[in-house]
């Protein structure tokens, strides 16, 4: 059992403050000043977490962040299954992000769907020197020839594109005309733009606006009869099937999902979204832009929801239902009731095993706050959290709806800080990414990847909650953690910054 449970809030706050001070000592002065603004101890009642965010990462600190390309190709566009996404530039970016994000989809890969293909212009020196537009033109022809059933093409720019002055917009327009108005979307998501994945999300959202919505115009007809209950799921990437275990609940309550953005999504769904009566938004960070746009332009309201853990699911189902009539409101109650036995069984089984266990999180868009409720449903406590690429509005939501007093808050955490914090706070579980996983496991700290669900999932919805609970239990209570110390070396010594 970890240390915190025996301490008062004031003691915890003091300890966390001291920990931040201690940690900052390692930095050169200038860096310490900059990093200090990103670390804080939350005080309840405050409207945000008191940290600066969405600022440049500091060179050389081992930031955990990625780039705009990752935000666009990896997050927003990549999962659209019936379009071909070109990683435009040298081979690496597309190679490393190939198939690693687990955006599940149904389709005949390579024939009518293309998510797990790595298509790249594989730039060579001559493309850098003479420009890549010619290659891009030819490449689009080759896609048309080899993948005749593709429904569209996106061009995901890697770093060099914006530096060598290529005009991918002109190429896109020309090729679109040549292919009877085919949807071809240039995306200026070069990795050096912005400070993290985040600007990539924004750029990708804008590309949908400019190259799909604007192209079709507001009056383009959907190919189906509208109903008053049409909604679109926005910001669910169907990691391990998350969007599916969410969609099923919405449909069971009587809504009709007309589009998924973007996990298991298709171009037709993107195009039809302006016909939705309500956009429901899971990952606020990566898709609030397009939701706001649709609100302004098409008058579609949007509402955030959270499908992690039964408390938040029930709250969210009711919130979504509140936009509709009694039929849907009753539907929401019916769904909550239907799944209650499952929820009870899961909690009965796992809560006793997890009660009082502490968790530290460091993830991307929405998870640093969204999963807190699910942990709490299992009796666990989140004692530290932070965003890889959050903005102030994320920290506001976190402060106002999720974290407890004295929670340690860290923005754009780096390897050094994360290790120190975990070493000192000794959580029972750390949830973060692949780059962090093995660091903490070596230290003997149970870990779950909270981007890829550690190759498990879904975690969304009631069905997902059962898997979530099982996985957290399996991580925390694995018998292997008892074997970490060789018995002849197992002399208890206080681990607390003992090295210092």
């Amino acid at each position: 059992m970890s240390l915190v449970t025996t301490q008062s809030a004031a003691e915890i706050r003091a300890r966390n403050k001291e920990l931040i001070e201690e940690t900052l000592k390692v930095y050169p002065e200038k860096t310490a000043k900059r990093r200090a603004k990103h670390l804080n101890v939350h005080e309840s009642g405050k409207s945000d977490c008191g940290v600066k965010s969405n600022l440049k990462s500091i060179p050389g600190v081992m930031t955990i962040r990625g780039c705009a390309y990752a935000g666009s190709k990896g997050v927003v566009w990549g999962p659209i299954k019936d379009m071909v996404h070109i990683s435009h530039g040298p081979v690496g970016c597309g190679q490393y992000s190939w198939g690693s994000r687990r955006n599940y989809y149904v389709g005949t890969t390579g024939i009518d769907t293309f998510v797990t293909l790595q298509l790249t212009s594989d730039f060579q020196e001559k493309d850098i020197v003479f420009g890549g537009d010619k290659k891009l033109i030819k490449l689009i022809d080759e896609i048309q020839e080899l993948f005749p059933l593709n429904n569209g093409i996106t061009i995901q720019s890697e770093c060099p594109i914006g530096l060598i002055g290529d005009d991918i917009e002109a190429v896109s327009r020309a090729k679109s005309n040549e292919y009877d108005g085919k949807t071809i979307v240039p995306v200026r998501c070069e990795g050096f733009r912005g400070v993290s994945q985040s600007l990539g999300h924004h750029i990708a959202n804008d590309a949908v606006r400019d190259w799909i919505f604007d192209k079709n115009g507001p009056d383009s007809k959907p190919e189906f009869e509208s109903t008053p209950y049409d909604v679109a799921i926005i910001g669910d990437y169907n990691i391990g099937g998350d969007a599916w275990s969410s969609r099923i609940l919405l449909e069971e309550m009587g809504l009709r999902v007309i589009a998924q953005w973007s996990g298991d999504g298709s171009l037709a769904e993107l195009e039809a979204t302006p016909k939705a009566k309500l956009n429901i938004l899971h990952c606020y960070r990566s898709m609030n832009y397009i939701s706001r746009h649709m609100e302004e332009k098409f008058g579609i309201p949007w509402c955030e929801y959270n499908f992690f853990g039964p408390s938040k699911i029930a709250e969210s189902l009711r919130k979504i239902a509140s936009f509709f009539d009694d039929k849907i409101k009753e539907g929401a109650e019916r769904v909550i009731e239907k799944y209650q036995p499952l929820v009870n069984a899961v909690i009965a089984k796992y809560r006793p095993r997890l009660q009082g266990k502490t968790v530290m999180l460091f993830v991307g868009g929405l998870r640093p706050r969204h999963v807190i409720g699910a942990y709490e449903d299992l009796g666990m406590e989140v004692i530290g959290t932070g965003y890889e690429f959050g903005h102030n509005d994320d920290y506001q939501r976190t402060a106002q709806h999720y974290v407890k007093d004295s929670t340690l808050i860290y923005d754009d955490l780096n390897g050094y800080e994360f290790e120190r914090f975990v070493e000192k706070l000794q959580p029972d579980l750390v949830g973060s990414g692949i780059k962090e996983k093995y660091v903490f496991q070596k230290m003997g700290v149970p870990f779950r990847q909270m981007h890829s669900w550690d190759y498990s999932g879904p975690y969304h919805g009631y069905d997902g909650f059962a898997i979530f609970a099982r996985d957290m239990d399996m991580a925390v209570n694995s018998p292997i953690w008892k074997k970490v110390k060789a018995p002849w070396k197992d002399v208890p010594k206080p681990k607390l910054l003992a090295a210092e």
């Binding site: 060179p59 050389g60 930031t63 190679q95 198939g99 390579g110 080899l146 733009r193 037709a268």
Partner: protein, 518 residues
């Protein structure tokens, strides 16, 4: 509802139930799906020679390449030196990718920093990022050395590493005598094996040729040692350990350059070792005095080896030696170079491998194989298959060059079993897909991405290569040396037997051949 607390259904079971299947069927209507008959038609068409021809006529588009970019190789080589932090100058997203990629393969931490260049650095250059970055890394991670390489961004804007590092030192980012070797690693030239080569050469150059003008060049005083270079290798952990064992058995005094076998295999014992093992900096410097240098991968050391030869050493390159003859050649060359004999122990190991091959050859002989991967790996595997009486049919290397093509062709031409084989440099896995459909083989050897080919073409995949993400721990066992050959043999055999069992396990239909003894 199918989900339950007693028996939690995972993603691969959950969605097969009727509720989800109905839901997905309804979803289809919103996807504006293609006519299933049309999908079927195109699917079949992609299997034809006609499609293959179009596929091979591609000039601009690369689909599913079997190669990565230079800095990945640079990072891989750099962490093979004691206490060394790889520092990649350029945009930060790339570094997140290299670290993830290496971690997914080795199931290990991968430490590396970026200078986090952003739009303003694109305009003004990344000097400030370098200065601040070096200072931060040095203070935070207390490295013994920082090895600098570059992403595309820094290369396109033309940042000059030598000058930047000099300035950084003048500005006090790191002490003047702190080792900061560097290598330009443009991703639009070559692949990860080129990056390995450049980084290793950069580090040796730093120590041997006067630390970028800040120290006298080392004067070579030849000794009896042998330097050993593994090259970019997914099996580096198992392989380098096996090589050390062999060198020690033979009593050869050696230095392994870029020895990352420890850092990619650290224990779980309560401590995170950001650095572990590695060639010490003294060893790296003193390696100049060695008698000679052996590289296990010619195309991972195309620049490094000539550089070493220029310093007066004998150099020798192998092509990922695997199996009996390649290991024989390697040991005999090592013996010649070092003047040490080959001990009986190794002769016995050789005998055991030959023994195993005779025991099992009936199951491999005449089987047709397709192979893809890094050029040296492909060559080594092809050579081993030929010894087994297997028939390589397609050998494909996305980062293989003309010289590789010719050398591999010569290897095949020299064997009765290589006569039907074609060699494909610069091609990708979508080309391989067409090859497997139009000229089918019995087995495919390649990395994890080969599973897409296995799914599409039904060719059973034997996972040998980099990366292997979806099977665990194979990198801990060697594929070099006679014992490594044994591991490869077993890997291949296991797949072959599993396939025979799969094909003969239909109760009452095919199971007359479901033999207990094979």
């Amino acid at each position: 509802m199918a989900q339950s607390a007693e028996h939690v259904l995972d993603h691969f079971e959950l969605f097969r139930g009727p509720e989800y299947q109905q839901m997905l069927a309804k979803k289809k209507a919103f996807e504006n799906p293609r006519d299933p008959a049309e999908v079927e038609r195109v699917k079949e068409w992609t299997k034809t020679p006609e499609y293959r021809e179009k596929n091979f006529a591609r000039e601009a588009l690369t689909i599913n390449p079997a190669k990565a970019c230079q800095p990945l190789g640079a990072v891989f080589a750099s962490v093979g030196f004691e206490g060394t932090l790889p520092f990649v100058h350029g945009s930060q997203g790339c570094v997140a990718y290299y670290r993830s990629h290496l971690s997914r393969h080795f199931k290990e931490p991968s430490s590396c920093v970026s200078s986090s260049m952003t739009e303003d650095a694109a305009v003004f250059g990344g000097l400030n990022n370098m200065v601040d970055g070096l200072a931060n890394s040095y203070n935070m991670y207390k490295p013994k050395m920082i090895a600098v390489s570059t992403t595309c961004m820094a290369e396109v804007i033309g940042d000059d590493l030598n000058a930047f590092i000099k300035t950084s030192k003048e500005k006090g980012a790191v002490p003047a005598d702190f080792d900061v070797p560097f290598a330009h690693t443009p991703a639009f030239v070559g692949s990860h094996i080129t990056g390995y080569d450049n980084a290793l050469k950069g580090i040796l150059e730093h120590f041997w040729d006067g630390k970028a003008g800040t120290a006298p060049k080392l004067e070579r005083k030849p000794n009896d040692k042998v330097n050993f270079i593994g090259g970019f290798d997914g099996y580096t952990v198992g392989n380098l350990r096996e090589i050390k064992r062999i060198l020690e058995l033979m009593g050869v005094e050696y230095t392994i350059l870029a020895d990352n076998s420890e850092v990619f295999d650290t224990p779980t014992d309560g401590e995170f070792r950001m650095y572990d093992g590695g060639t010490t900096l003294d060893e790296a410097a003193n390696a100049v005095h060695a008698k000679g240098t052996i590289s296990m991968q010619q195309w991972s050391t195309e620049k490094t080896l000539p550089f070493i030869a220029d310093h007066g050493q004998d150099v020798l390159a192998f092509n990922y030696p695997m199996g009996v003859s390649a290991t024989d050649d390697f040991l005999m060359a090592l013996s010649l170079l070092s003047g040490k004999g080959i001990p009986e122990e190794l002769a016995r190991e050789r005998g055991r491998l030959v023994d195993a091959m005779t025991d099992s050859s009936a199951h491999i002989h005449g089987k047709k194989f397709a192979i893809y991967g890094d050029p040296d790996l492909c060559y080594g595997l092809a050579a081993f298959l030929l010894e087994l009486g297997a028939e390589p049919i397609h050998v494909l290397s996305t980062n293989g060059n003309k010289a590789w093509e010719e050398k591999t062709k010569a290897l095949l031409a020299g064997s009765t079993f290589g006569q039907d084989c074609n060699v494909y440099p610069g091609r990708d896995l979508w080309h391989m897909r067409s090859l497997l459909f139009t000229e089918p083989v019995d087995y495919l050897i390649g990395n994890t991405y080969g599973k897409y080919l296995e799914r599409d073409t039904g060719t059973p995949l034997i996972r040998i290569g980099f990366p292997v993400f979806d099977r665990h721990h194979h990198h801990r066992s060697p594929v070099w040396g006679y014992q490594g050959g044994m591991n490869v043999l077993v890997k291949i055999l296991d797949k072959i037997f599993d396939e025979i069992d799969k094909k003969t396990s239909l109760l009452g239909k095919t199971d007359y051949s479901f033999d207990i003894i094979r």
